[in-house]
């Protein structure tokens, strides 16, 4: 069950909610969204964002809610497993708190069909949310994160490196920086092929300082590539606040150098993220070039694993043995938890009349069961055969063993 929270930002809007006057209401909400956004302005580099979410079908809206829940419950289930099951070897860089970003962005993409038509997503060391939003098979992902031979990547990848070509999830490779370049490179390939595909990369505030940041945006801008850089600014890279490595409040400002839109968006509200992503996708498909989207967001857990977390509870607070000298203030974590992406999307759907409380709860219950099933299935999957480590170096054959002399 989701936590009860004191303040829902949605209570700030006073409009009565009726599905009949949804369109009018939505305009009001868009304004409200802007008012509560962290920066005071949205899409400053690109004028107003069109309120695309208004055109989504009920099914699509519900699917976005379901995706957010899937990410959240995958995390909570895994965290509990890590905290309570000493035999469990999986781990995660938890994404809880940021679910609306991956969900809103991927909802604007083409995630089904032939590989040559799919939009592609590159991810990070914190990939499970992106992967679920892009549509990877949950069971197989859970198995991969548990090192199983039938996992998404047959046990070769584990958490930080999962990928799934079949849905255009080109993967995580856990390094900070190079993925940006590769993703823009895919966009270069799309342009050469004359395809309408779009390439999206997720990256944290940590990516700003990397040398790749500049090369990626500069080349994407010069060549007008169908490329979207979603920078999830969750304020910290590992244990360093982003002000340690960035002189700007809004990293999106850097887009000015490249003469491309730099959009700041409230990363806790899936509708706003969707709107910004949709705008960027349209631009990209129209051959108008790349967009840098900075989503202001926050993670509820520590950088890696579950230190500071308690089984059955959301979030981690206090001591993290990996932090050594710097900790996030507990009150900062709790403040961000008051604007929870699960609550925001649920409340939005209820106020829009897309679902009622009972339906929303039923959806969540079903998702929890789905997640539980996935963990159960994964735990029964076979482990890898040692000698398979020699395969898949090249497309053909195996490399020789060398450890025996």
């Amino acid at each position: 069950m989701p936590e009860t929270r004191d303040i829902s930002p949605e209570t700030q809007t006073e409009n009565p909610v009726l599905s009949a006057n949804r369109r009018t209401f939505l305009k009001g909400l868009a304004g409200a969204g802007a008012a509560i956004s962290l920066t005071g302005t949205l899409a400053r580099a690109n004028g107003e964002i069109g309120f695309w979410a208004k055109d989504l079908s009920n099914d699509q809206l519900i699917e976005m809610y379901r995706t957010i829940l899937r990410i959240r419950w995958h995390e909570r289930t895994q965290a509990d497993k890590m905290l309570t099951d000493p035999g469990y070897r999986g781990y995660n860089h938890f994404y809880a708190g940021q679910e609306a970003v991956a969900t809103g962005v991927c909802a604007a993409l083409n995630n089904k069909g032939k590989f040559e038509e799919l939009d592609v997503v590159y991810s990070t060391h914190r990939p499970s949310g992106h992967a679920i939003a892009k549509g990877v098979d949950l069971k197989k992902m859970v198995a991969e994160m548990d090192f199983r031979a039938t996992g998404l990547n047959r046990g070769y990848a584990a958490e930080m490196h999962i990928s799934d070509k079949s849905v255009g999830f080109l993967g995580a490779d856990g390094m900070i920086g190079p993925g940006l370049v590769m993703a823009a490179g895919s966009a270069f390939g799309f342009r050469a092929r004359g395809s309408k595909q779009v390439s999206v990369v997720f990256g944290g505030d940590g990516t700003y300082a990397t040398p790749a940041f500049h090369g990626t945006l500069n080349n994407a801008a010069l060549l007008k590539l169908p490329f979207i850089y979603v920078l999830e600014n969750n304020l910290y890279h590992q244990y360093a606040h982003y002000s340690y490595s960035c002189p700007m409040k809004d990293i999106a400002d850097a887009a000015r150098t490249y003469r491309i839109p730099g959009v700041v968006v409230d990363g806790q509200d899936v509708m706003q993220v969707y709107n910004a992503a949709r705008e960027a996708v349209e631009r990209a498909r129209a051959g108008e070039g790349p967009t840098l989207i900075e989503a202001k967001t926050y993670r509820y857990y520590n950088h890696w694993g579950a230190p500071g977390a308690k089984a059955g509870e959301l979030g981690a607070f206090g001591y993290d043995p990996l932090a050594i000298t710097s900790f996030r203030p507990e009150r900062e974590v709790r403040a961000w938890m008051t604007r929870d992406p699960v609550d925001i999307s649920r409340n939005t759907l209820i106020r829009w009349g897309v679902v009622d409380q009972a339906r929303a709860t039923a959806i969540e219950t079903a998702v929890r069961a789905e997640v539980a099933d996935a963990f159960d299935w994964a735990s029964r999957q076979p482990l890898c055969k040692p000698e398979d480590g020699l395969k898949n170096v090249f497309v053909e054959g195996s490399v020789p063993a060398r450890q025996f002399g």
Partner: protein, 323 residues
């Protein structure tokens, strides 16, 4: 069939593949993909295929390598030509990403891409980063990338065709000192394997193994040695990864003498690997290694040319080893 330069042979291979595959791309920086050779049409890939597919980039070799890799991952064949000044700038992208992604995805990622890395090492008077010939070792140590180094225009073409058609990432080392080499090269497309060394001369007294930019001097030395009666088996390594152990071992089983020649620095030069592979497999052989000393290349031609392995050095070392 016509006499063609190294670069003409390579661009001919690329041109034909790009005509077949309408989305294949070429990224370059300083060196426009243009070549001419007497009696044949000028090849200009930029003009023929346009700037969308043949792109002149800024000075950012990480982009060149990363964009090539990104194309490959998205199913677009890509070749990049990285000038020697940038052949270290792109290293991490190839080593840590191209080299690992297939394995890390459990076999899902196909990367039909070629990184042409120009090498220098041939230019007395430049010094430092502008005369070095060290990257063969760096790239050969990477696991998931095929690393090859043709030493003739004909191999250059055949191995380029193979490299483009190979679904694996290929590092194709191009020793710029071979730029002016000309020989008869067939006009049609043909493939040359990416895992076979070439025996250039057969003999039973000694095996001399070289590669790339070092081959002309190796062959010159072999001719001299043969002239004085030594039966020299000369092997052009051609492929660093995977390395053709079998050809090497068979040869030294016969000759019991192995001399390796490298323009790369001594410590961990390709010859070290050749010797180690043979030493593990052939008992009672004798070994010698010639390489550039463990020093950066100095500018002065007097110093540089004295340090760079040449035919004289090879002749003397071979005579000692056999004598």
């Amino acid at each position: 069939m016509a006499r063609k330069s190294w670069m003409y042979a390579v661009l001919e291979a690329v041109q034909a593949e790009m005509r077949k595959d309408k989305s294949m791309v070429w990224l370059f920086e300083l060196t426009p993909p243009v070549a001419s050779t007497p009696g044949k049409p000028v090849i200009n890939l930029e003009k023929e295929f346009g700037r969308i597919r043949v792109n002149n980039t800024g000075i950012d070799e990480m982009w060149m390598a990363g964009a090539t890799l990104g194309c490959g991952l998205a199913g677009v064949k890509a070749v990049t030509y990285i000038p020697y000044q940038g052949n270290g700038m792109c290293f991490q992208m190839i080593q840590n990403h191209a080299g690992k992604l297939r394995h890390m995805t459990g076999g899902d990622a196909a990367m039909p891409i070629v990184f042409i890395l120009e090498m220098t090492g041939q230019t007395p008077g430049f010094a430092g980063q502008h005369s070095d010939y060290e990257i063969d070792t760096y790239y050969a140590h990477i696991p998931g990338v095929k690393t090859v180094i043709p030493s003739t225009p004909a191999d250059a073409k055949g191995m380029m065709v193979s490299a483009i058609r190979d679904p694996n990432p290929v590092v194709y080392l191009y020793p710029a000192g071979l730029r002016d080499m000309m020989e008869e090269v067939p006009d049609e497309q043909y493939t040359t394997p990416l895992d076979k060394a070439a025996i250039r001369t057969e003999g039973s007294d000694i095996t001399i193994v070289g590669s790339g930019g070092g081959m002309p001097e190796v062959l010159k030395a072999a001719t001299q040695l043969q002239g004085s009666g030594m039966k020299v088996e000369t092997i052009d390594l051609r492929c660093f990864k995977p390395m053709d152990t079998e050809t090497l071992v068979k040869s030294v089983q016969k000759t019991k003498r192995l001399l390796t020649v490298d323009q790369s620095y001594y410590t961990l030069c390709p010859g070290a690997e050749v010797i180690a592979r043979v030493a593990e497999n052939v008992d009672g052989a004798r070994f010698k290694r010639i390489a550039f000393p463990d020093a950066p290349p100095p500018a002065s031609p007097e110093m540089f040319l004295w340090m760079r392995p040449n035919a004289d050095h090879i002749v003397k070392a071979a005579s000692q080893l056999v004598g």
